[in-house]
Every structure is written in C-alpha cells, then in structure tokens.
C-alpha cells in the first residue's frame, strides 16, 4: 500500500517536473519568436518541411474521410428521405470535428515525429551544444522557426483537409449515389454557420497546432541523447499528441457548442 502510494507520488512528481520543464521551454521559445521574422528564410524552409511536405497525406486522407462520410451520411439520411441534406452533414462533420482532429493526429504522426527525431538527433550529435559554443542561440536558430512553422501550418492543413473532404463527399454523394449537386452545395451553405462552425473549427485547429508542435519540439529537446532516448521521445510525441488532441477536443467542443 505504502509502496503503491510512493510510486504514485513519484510518478506525479516526475510529471510535474516534465510539465515545468516544458513550460519554461515554451516561454523561452515564445520569447525568441522575433527570430521567426528576422530569419524568415529559416522559417520558410521549416514551413516547407513541416507543412508543404505533409500536404499529400493530409489531402489523400481528407479525400477518403470525405468519401466515407458521403457513404455513411447518405445511408442514414436516405432512410428519412433527406438525402439532399448530405452536403450539410458532411461539411459540419468535417469543419467542426474531423478536419481539426484527424489533421492534428496525422500531423503529429507525420510532422511531429519528424520534428522530435530531428531535434533529438541534433542533441545527440552535439549540434545544439556546438551552436551554443559558437554563440548561436538554438532557441532562435532551431526551436523558434520550427515551432512557428508547425503552429502556422496546422490550421492551414486542417482547412485543406476539410475542403478536400467536402469534395470527397461530393464525389460519392453526387457522383455515385445520385444526390443532386445543387442541393449538396446549397444545403452545405445553408447549414454551415460561419461563426458557430467554421470559426470554432479554426480555433480548434489553432489550439491543436500549438499543442502538437509544442509537444514535438519539446520532446526532441528533452530526449535522452541516445538512440533509445530518441525512439522513446518520438513515440511519446505521437502518443501524447493524440491524447492531448482528443482530450482538448472534448473540452473545446464542450465550451463551444453548449
């Protein structure tokens, strides 16, 4: 019993200390954000690596998710003779939930793990130490541009995911199942509210982008400088990002739609 309590306490303390380190790290990264503008070339390179190179996986996934939504939505709606409402159903599901959430999960797997591994490897091979010894601040040279690139890319990718998803839903609904094209898009316009749905989805994707990139960059920075350490940090990035995104999605949905 005492042992169990002691273990629980130890785990709690460990988590608190990680959270403390992560918060200090975040503060220092945020304080170095002027480097994002001053060193815009570095930032552009990171946006390319984190955002542009995630485009394909995001677009393909968005297309499939939209197509599945088209099928499933049609099957349910047609029972009530409301197949024309498919456009609205697909758009709402994507813009409110699936766009931000699935994009964040894919982003954590594709870009987050790459960020962690890259920074972890830079630490292991003493590149970060070498920069410090050359009087170059790694927060400004390495962390700030990567953090900003992730933070900026994620909402844009979520928007692309939703847009491609709507097209996927249309391909299945309008193309294969015979839903009227005009009805599909007019329903979508009628049902989707700018502030209530679109802005809420954008806020979610901004929050997820912030959290996933924070976790990814911090895990790389905090990784134990061994190959096992990097492997553990990369796994942690994906697992913690997924849990954080799903948990935060619940909280944000509760706050936005009640």
């Amino acid at each position: 019993m005492i042992d169990a309590l002691a273990n629980l306490g130890r785990a709690g303390l460990r988590w608190l200390s990680v959270l403390g380190r992560a918060s200090i790290f975040l503060l220092r990264v945020l304080r170095s954000q002027d480097a994002v503008v001053r060193r815009y070339r570095l930032t552009f390179a990171e946006i390319y690596s984190v955002g542009v190179r995630s485009l394909l996986i995001i677009a393909v996934s968005g297309l499939f998710v939209g197509m599945v939504l088209g099928y499933q939505g049609y099957i349910t709606l047609v029972r009530f003779g409301a197949a024309e409402a498919l456009g609205g159903a697909v758009a709402l599901a994507l813009v409110r939930e699936l766009g931000p959430v699935v994009t964040a999960l894919l982003f954590a797997g594709r870009a987050g793990s790459a960020l962690t591994a890259e920074i972890g490897l830079m630490k292991t091979t003493e590149q970060l130490s070498a920069m410090e010894m050359m009087a170059v601040d790694p927060y400004r040279r390495v962390f700030a541009p990567r953090f900003f690139a992730g933070f900026l890319s994620m909402p844009l990718l979520a928007a692309i995911f939703s847009a491609v998803g709507v097209i996927g839903g249309y391909i299945v609904g309008g193309g294969l199942l015979g839903v009227d094209s005009g009805a599909y898009f007019s329903q979508m316009q009628a049902v989707t509210d700018w502030r209530e749905d679109v802005v809420s989805g954008v806020i979610k994707s901004i929050v997820f982008g912030f959290v996933v990139t924070w976790i990814a960059v911090f895990q790389g920075f905090d990784a134990e400088p061994t190959s096992e350490g990097i492997s553990r940090a990369t796994t942690q990035t994906v697992v913690m990002s997924a849990l954080a995104v799903l948990g935060l999605d619940f909280v944000l949905t509760g706050m936005m739609f009640t």
Partner: protein
C-alpha cells in the same frame, strides 16, 4: 594594463571548483590555470569529467561552487549576451566534430561567419576557403558531413572553430578513435594552429604520447582533483605514484585492477557455506 601584462595573465583560471552531477561528485575543489598562448593538456582516466571541465569553461554548465575566469571574466556570472560575446572569442572542437548535418562542409565553416557578421558573400567564400585550405580540405567543400570520415569531420570542425579567429580553442578528445595517419594530421594541425595564430589551446585527452609531444603544460586530474601539474618535464620528474601509473599505462597500482569489493577468498568461502546449509 599594458600589453605585456595582459600577455602574462593566465587565459583561464579555475579556483576551488566543485561540481556534482546528480549525487555524483565530479570535481572536488579543482584548481588550475591555463597560460595564454600555450598548449595546455588536461589528462585523466575516462569518466573523470574532462569534457565536463570544458563545458564549465565554456559556460554551458554552472559550477556548484568555486569560480572560473576566462579572459578575466567570471563565466558563471556573465549575462547571456556577455557569455555569447565571450564564446565568439573561444572555439570548441567536439569529439565527434558536431557538424551541422543539414549543411555541407563549406556552409558548416561559413556558419559562424554568417551568424555573426554581415560580410559580403565573396569575402565569406574567401575566408571559408582559406580556413579549409589550412586543414587540407578545400577540395572537400561540397561534401556533406555524412560523407566525411571521423578525422575529416574533426578537421572541418577545426576549420569552423577558427572561422571567427578566436583567442582560445578547447579541444575535446581530439585524438580519440583515429588511425595513425589522421592522428598525425590532427597533431600537426593543433600545433600549427597554436603557433601561427598564437592561440591558447586547451586539450582534454587520455592519449598520453601525442599529448605529451605537443603540450607546454600538462594537468593530470583524477577523483575530482588535480594529481599533478606543470610542464611536461616537471610532471615527468616529480610525478606521484598515480601519475606514474597513468602515464605509463600500468594495469595495477593506486588505481586497482579489481573493482573494489569483498575479497575473492571470502566470496568463495561464502558460496561453499551456503551450499552446505
């Protein structure tokens, strides 16, 4: 202060340094001085904290107590801005080279110049080629770090370390894991760099022969303290039993061959008793 007096003052002074890593005491009242413009070698067995000492001198770690002065400035008390200004006058050669893997050889050497100066591209190119020529790798400028051997990576790192013309270079295990030819090249480079540029060089190594050849001053450390220090001749003449064992590479002596523990006899007797029980 006139120039002669500046030249006489030591470049680095470490005084009563105490440093712990977790619960392990790494340095226990270590004191040493590094004279300006000379090659000083810090030697000691693996795990004695030689690399840690370089990191403390470079301000990457802070001592638990004691003080370190570099160029008359107390490292642990400097603001980040002044610490970075100090580091611009200080090069460090890491054991692995620590080249930036996303940049090629040329860009690695150009890195400190691009970060800290606004020199025109043509001048940067001339400077980089000059530094690369000094380490014999001008023709390798387009290679990426992954295409370099360990020795070449270290030479590129040396070119990068001297890119900003520092006053002092810290070498972390510069000879570790090199073949004899590459070792000879690095030894020559360290000597030549020191002589031609008038730098202060601090080497940390456990390669006794090479280090003794090129050092003006030797400091032997173990168990967190300085065991012997002085010129090569002084150390050889008056060395302690520990230093003798270290420098001559004897397997047993003050540093025992066996890991401390119960005697072998007791262990055997205990095994027999437990079987009889």
């Amino acid at each position: 202060m006139n120039e002669e007096r500046v030249a006489d003052t030591p470049h680095v002074v470490v005084e009563d340094l105490v440093f712990r890593r977790g619960r392990k005491l790494i340095f226990d009242g270590l004191s040493l001085t590094v004279p300006r413009g000379r090659v000083t070698t810090v030697m000691g067995p693996s795990g004695t904290g030689k690399t840690t000492l370089l990191r403390l001198i470079g301000g990457q770690l802070r001592p638990d107590s004691g003080r370190i002065w570099v160029d008359g400035e107390e490292v642990a008390r400097l603001s980040t801005r002044r610490l970075y200004a100090l580091r611009k006058r200080m090069g460090m050669l890491f054991q692995t080279g620590a080249l930036l893997t996303d940049l090629n050889v040329f860009e690695n050497v150009a890195f400190p110049l691009r970060e800290h100066t606004d020199l025109p591209e043509e001048l940067i190119r001339n400077l980089v080629l000059m530094k690369l020529e000094a380490v014999g790798l001008r023709a390798a400028r387009d290679l990426s770090p992954s295409q370099l051997s360990g020795g070449m990576a270290r030479r590129v790192a040396l070119a990068r370390a001297i890119a900003l013309d520092p006053d002092m270079i810290l070498y972390d295990e510069p000879f570790a894991g090199l073949d004899p030819i590459t070792m000879g090249q690095i030894v020559t480079l360290i000597q030549r760099t020191n002589r031609t540029l008038g730098l202060t060089s601090v080497l940390v190594t456990h390669d006794v022969v090479e280090a003794m050849d090129i050092s003006d001053q030797v400091v032997l450390i173990a168990e967190g303290r300085v065991m012997d220090a002085g010129t090569v001749e002084q150390v050889r003449a008056g060395m302690s039993a520990w230093s003798k064992q270290f420098l001559e590479g004897r397997p047993d002596g003050p540093v025992p061959f066996h890991y401390p523990g119960d005697s072998y006899r007791d262990d055997l007797v205990r095994g027999r008793e437990s079987r009889n029980d």
